[in-house]
Symmetry: C2
Subunit: 336 residues, 2 copies
């Protein structure tokens, strides 16, 4: 059989493509190409698309080029992928992995997935990957207070970045996180302005770093510094029951800010059943489920998180010494 497609178009045969070739093909300056490779966040989307396409068309391999000529292998970033757990909000991590793959490809890097059922097993997998030379850098996700992985990685001197804060721990490593409190604060302010003073919060039981952070954002926006707080497990049905009870009790509720889209969907179903289909409700994660039923939500921008994570791993800031490097991405309130 004959291939029906050629893998490259217009690529010079005699020599490897250079930065100049990409700039010429994309109709931009050398600096812009460099920006797309090193700091994609500062380049306009359509320009980034055009340059990325030229890089792909020409088969230009920027960062890893020198190394891959020696080893015939690209640099590889390993990231843990949990078994699929169902639920509405898993899409945030999946979006992050999509974006990481996409942006890493532009930089000539690969993304390697590994499975592990707990953190102990994850450290075992990482040992194999690093000892075997299969991974050159690590992205860990779902960090928590006292996380053994960050200490272990720091001890190995492996380049790594965490998606998630160390939550009060020693944080002498690179991390990117989303400012959850800023998201619920923006949602609460919007609800106060557009709906009324009684903005309640639907959150998880206290004690989770992420949940407490989102609750703090809501609380900080309230004029009195406090309001009605409803507690639900991360489940549509539980949130529905909790909100239904609150609405039936006659407590004044002008709007609901929720710690997740699952809670928001449950709250929405309770509001519809109680004849309050117009009750303003804001979720968190801006998932397809929230979009489908027309709920407002706080968007985590996982694409920005991925871009920042790569900048921390590979970008110019990496070579500027071992200083703490932390990025807190501002989420976006999506109103519907």
């Amino acid at each position: 059989m004959t291939p029906t497609c050629r893998p490259t178009k217009g690529a010079p045969v005699a020599r490897s493509p250079r930065l100049e070739d990409v700039a010429l093909a994309a109709g931009v300056s050398r600096q812009t190409v460099s920006n797309v490779i090193n700091s994609p966040g500062i380049v306009r989307e359509d320009t980034r698309e055009r340059v990325s396409r030229a890089i792909a068309d020409l088969g230009y391999r920027p960062h890893a080029a020198a190394r891959s000529l020696r080893t015939r292998r690209s640099s590889t970033i390993a990231i843990h992928l949990d078994p699929y757990a169902g639920g509405i909000s898993g899409v945030v991590l999946d979006r992050f992995v999509h974006a990481l793959t996409d942006l890493a490809g532009v930089r000539g890097m690969r993304v390697l997935l590994y499975a592990a059922r707990d953190h102990r097993e994850e450290i075992g997998r990482l040992t194999e990957l690093l000892d075997g030379g299969e991974a050159d850098a690590i992205v860990i996700t779902g960090t928590f207070h006292g996380d053994p992985r960050t200490r272990w990685l720091a001890g190995r001197q492996t380049p790594f970045v965490a998606f998630g804060r160390p939550w009060g721990e020693d944080d002498h490593h690179a991390w990117v996180d989303v400012d959850g409190a800023a998201g619920t604060r923006a949602a609460t302010r919007w609800a106060l302005e557009s709906a009324g003073p009684e903005v309640a919060f639907v959150g998880w039981p206290s004690g989770s770093d992420t949940g407490d952070d989102r609750e703090a954002g809501w609380r900080s926006a309230l004029p009195t510094g406090d309001g009605l707080r409803l507690v639900s497990e991360e489940s549509v049905s539980d949130a529905r029951a909790v909100v239904a009870q609150a609405l039936a009790s006659g407590t004044a509720v002008d709007a609901l800010v929720c710690a997740s889209d699952s809670l928001a969907v449950g709250a929405h179903l309770a509001a519809v059943a109680a004849g309050r289909a117009d009750l303003p409700i804001v979720g968190f994660d801006n998932t397809p489920a929230a979009e489908a039923i027309g709920l407002s939500s706080v968007e985590q921008r996982p694409e920005r998180v991925a871009s920042a994570a790569l900048d921390l791993l590979l970008g110019p800031s990496e070579s500027s010494g071992g200083a703490s490097r932390h990025v807190l991405v501002e989420p976006q309130l999506v109103l519907r």
Copy 2:
């Protein structure tokens, strides 16, 4: 800093762990361990979990063991990941990737992600991965009639499996797909029995292999061989408008079978607005969005697809010659 966890528990130090060690640790026979590695689909879930954990605890590396001793690298399966496109149904591919990572890990294999914006660029990426020795096997997804990737891969003699049928093309390669027609047929039969004779279909415009297949399943279950067919783009709002118009026209509709959960959510919103909140609606993909709002849906079982794909790539059937190897996974109707 000192690691707070040990990567392995109870692993012999003096030699690499063997199949026997895993069997002993898991309390099963050697054959069962072998089955978990080579044909996990035939092993009970709780046994599979126990054996997988023993494999992880002991650091046993089955298939790739001999090779990795030479190269210090595991065998690597590459799979393309699109940029995130939003929408409700993207979760099916993400679930497949989660399951592939999980099951490949049990077999001592890795999953490598690569990005590409079109099939031409994808062939370019595959060329790099294969030439560079970065990938040993390929899983391609989203196959279509005349797909250039399968011909190209077959020409390279690379081990590969497709998630998706070749749809009438030369199919001398391994593939796994979900029997969409069987899914909509089951949904239609259920609707005929429980709701009434007028079971309408909400589908995409004709001409997509997957969509036509799902429509054929609906049609084959109708006593008359035909019924009301509504056409919508893959969008909640478009489906809502199309279904609202049909319900307003006074046409008899006892139930709706839909080609996707996006269409089903749109149909549900239209039914609620028309005062027909109880109209039975069945979606396709069993996404978190359908689950959240309580819609029935056809579940594609991406975990079974991943298991079958690995069996085709690595299992005993691989060594039995170059015969066609095709698996059609029966989907499951999830009623709510």
